[in-house]
């Protein structure tokens, strides 16, 4: 037991951070809750470092301490810290400000539970834990748009989660065990296995906002504060993708999961990019672009077990995606939510404009940025696993996505308008994100050596 608890030190640190911040909020000291949350999450990130390279399970195999889970912590906890910093200018001096930081920490914990799940019950709890906090975060502004977005998110989430739980009962009936490592027994009951797979993909696909379970995403992102949209597009999404990866490693290939996941990847990439082409609202545009990006993630999932690159590609792309997407949302917070607000940004604020261009071309996947390295590895893993057609679809989609992101870049260098304000926390976030986006591209070799 003591050994198991030591392995969970980062998760325990996250819970303690959230509870501590909640106490400071109770004492009406949100100015203390904010730095406490940031320091606590930094400590949790630090506690993950000594675990790197461990490949084991805790609590009778229900929770996995492996490369996916460890790197999820190293990527998602810093992303949560940056989201919290980004949220400060949006929520300061509102009633119950501190609870926002608490919900960020607890929702991130849900994503970590998903990424390390070794048992189907953790999939359910992880989806719930990362959903319930998000509903409240989306609804935080309490105006009509936020309430509408949160309501759609809530109803959609409840239905998909119910479908997932029901499908899991079929798997439990077939294997007699909730452990993912026992899923191999599903080979004997193909129909029940297939139905369970579909149901689980519905539940996790909703969290990862894969097409066709993405309907909530644009509305929820649009209604939510920009920092919450940035957080939702990264932390729960990466957690859910890693959970699909944990699951896929143990599923017997006869259930047809590689094809099902590949089909979801094609749908998500294509629909996400095409829908993003016609958006006028930058938050909605980034929402659809993040739907497309989760499609790229699935290329790495499909290759699991077939290619040694698969886990590395997932981790590197997750790190790059977290940095570039957070950066893009930070600039949206600075400039404004519509394409018209971006007119002349590159002239009135040259540094922020240049950073936005870097984030966007990194999202397309142009060298030498982080997004390029991640996508290169994903395509490499898919080709390695024999899914050449999937890699081709991915590359074609990257070309389409260039057009999507150019729609933001072109007006930025038009006629300059008035200079938007640049609060210090927002600037700090995009500078950090820029450092990571450039750094991951340059340090790709070092990072590749680290992930086993």
């Amino acid at each position: 037991m003591a050994r198991d608890l030591a392995l969970l030190a980062p998760e325990i640190a996250v819970v303690l951070t959230a509870v501590g911040a909640l106490l400071f909020e109770m004492l009406r000291l949100p100015k203390v809750a904010l730095p406490f949350t940031i320091v606590g999450l930094l400590v949790a990130t630090g506690l993950t470092v000594p675990l790197l390279g461990t490949e084991t399970t805790a609590f009778s195999g229900t929770f996995r301490i492996d490369a996916l889970g460890e790197w999820a912590k190293l990527v998602l906890l810093p992303a949560t810290i940056l989201s919290v910093v980004l949220a400060y200018p949006e929520v300061k001096n509102t009633e119950r400000e501190g609870t926002v930081y608490v919900l960020f920490s607890l929702t991130a914990l849900g994503a970590l539970v998903l990424a390390g799940a070794g048992d189907v019950m953790f999939l359910v709890l992880g989806v719930l834990l990362s959903s319930i906090g998000s509903f409240a975060l989306v609804a935080y502004p309490a105006d009509d748009r936020a309430t509408e977005g949160a309501m759609k998110f809530f109803v959609f989430g409840s239905v998909t989660l119910a479908v997932m739980v029901f499908g899991l009962t079929y798997w439990f009936g077939a294997t007699g065990s909730t452990l993912l490592s026992d899923l191999g027994r599903l080979g004997a009951v193909p129909l029940a296995a297939a139905f369970g797979l579909v149901a689980v993909l519905v539940g996790l696909g909703y969290k990862a906002s894969l097409v066709p379970f993405h309907f909530w995403a644009p509305d929820a992102y649009e209604g939510a504060p920009v920092s919450v949209a940035a957080f939702l597009s990264i932390v729960p999404k990466v957690g859910a993708v890693f959970a699909i990866a944990q699951l896929s490693r143990d599923l017997p290939a006869e259930t047809g999961w590689p094809l099902a996941v590949a089909a979801l990847a094609v749908l998500s990439m294509t629909y996400g990019n095409l829908a993003a082409l016609v958006q006028e609202n930058v938050v909605r545009l980034l929402a659809y672009s993040s739907i497309a990006q989760s499609g790229y993630f699935l290329l790495g999932v499909v290759a699991l077990g077939e290619s040694g690159l698969a886990v590395r590609s997932l981790v590197v792309f997750a790190a790059a995606y977290a940095a570039m997407n957070l950066g893009a949302f930070a600039i949206v917070l600075l400039a404004g939510r519509t394409l018209r607000d971006f007119a002349g940004l590159g002239r009135s604020r040259p540094a922020a404009g240049a950073a936005m261009v870097v984030f966007l071309i990194s999202l397309v996947g142009i060298p030498p940025l982080g997004g390029f390295v991640g996508k290169l590895l994903l395509f490499g893993a898919a080709i390695d696993a024999g899914f050449i057609w999937l890699a081709v679809v991915g590359i074609l989609n990257s070309v389409v996505s260039l057009a999507v992101y150019l729609r933001i870049v072109v007006p930025m260098y038009g006629q300059a308008k008035e200079k938007p304000d640049s609060p210090v926390p927002v600037a700090a976030v995009w500078v950090t994100a820029l450092t990571f986006t450039l750094g991951i591209g340059l340090a790709a070799q070092v990072l590749l050596g680290q992930v086993t």
């Binding site: 198991d4 509870v19 119950r96 834990l129 949160a150 077939a174 294997t175 139905f195």
Partner: protein, 178 residues
């Protein structure tokens, strides 16, 4: 056995229909407790008395009462009628539900379940409890799950407070002096 099963299945299904088609939210909540009771009966038939007890205590008792509280606290007192809406999509909804049910039943009946083993739970209450709390060596399957579930409840409470908070100076708490 067949008679008992037919009775329980009928009770569960009729109550579930009642939840959906009742025009009164309070009646829906009461019908739901009937449906939960039917499920508890199934647990007894399946030789899982501990689960049946949990089902009655938690679902029939606590959850239904909390839902009734929720309905009564959130409705404005001057609005006396709690109506649910039955709209034009009811037949479409009915056929979708029937189709999904038939499909699931089809999978259950056509699949050969002979090769599968029985569940990994124990049926005796004492052994079940030791397993659940991870006392027995090698049975810590539920230990961490319990902890995560309690964090989940904490999140739900915090989220409920955030959603229902009032902005300063907006509305008055009934029965509470400002």
């Amino acid at each position: 056995m067949i008679v008992a099963f037919a009775f329980l299945a009928g009770m569960t299904l009729v109550s579930a229909m009642g939840v959906v088609i009742s025009r009164n939210v309070v009646h829906s909540a009461l019908f739901m407790s009937g449906s939960f009771l039917g499920v508890a009966g199934f647990f007894v038939m399946l030789n899982a008395p501990a689960l049946a007890a949990f089902q009655v205590l938690i679902y029939v008792g606590a959850v239904t009462v909390v839902i009734l509280f929720g309905i009564m606290f959130t409705q404005k007192p001057q609005v006396r009628r709690f109506r649910t809406i039955l709209n034009a999509q009811r037949w479409a909804g009915f056929f979708v539900a029937a189709g999904v049910g038939a499909f699931l039943a089809f999978i259950l009946s056509i699949q050969n379940w002979g090769a599968t083993s029985s569940g990994n739970g124990t049926r005796g209450v004492a052994a079940f409890a030791r397993n659940l709390l991870g006392v027995t060596q090698g049975s810590e399957i539920f230990t961490l799950l319990f902890e995560v579930a309690s964090v989940l409840l904490l999140v739900a409470v915090v989220a409920a407070i955030v959603v229902s908070r009032r902005k300063t100076g907006e509305g008055v708490d009934r029965g509470v002096e400002e």
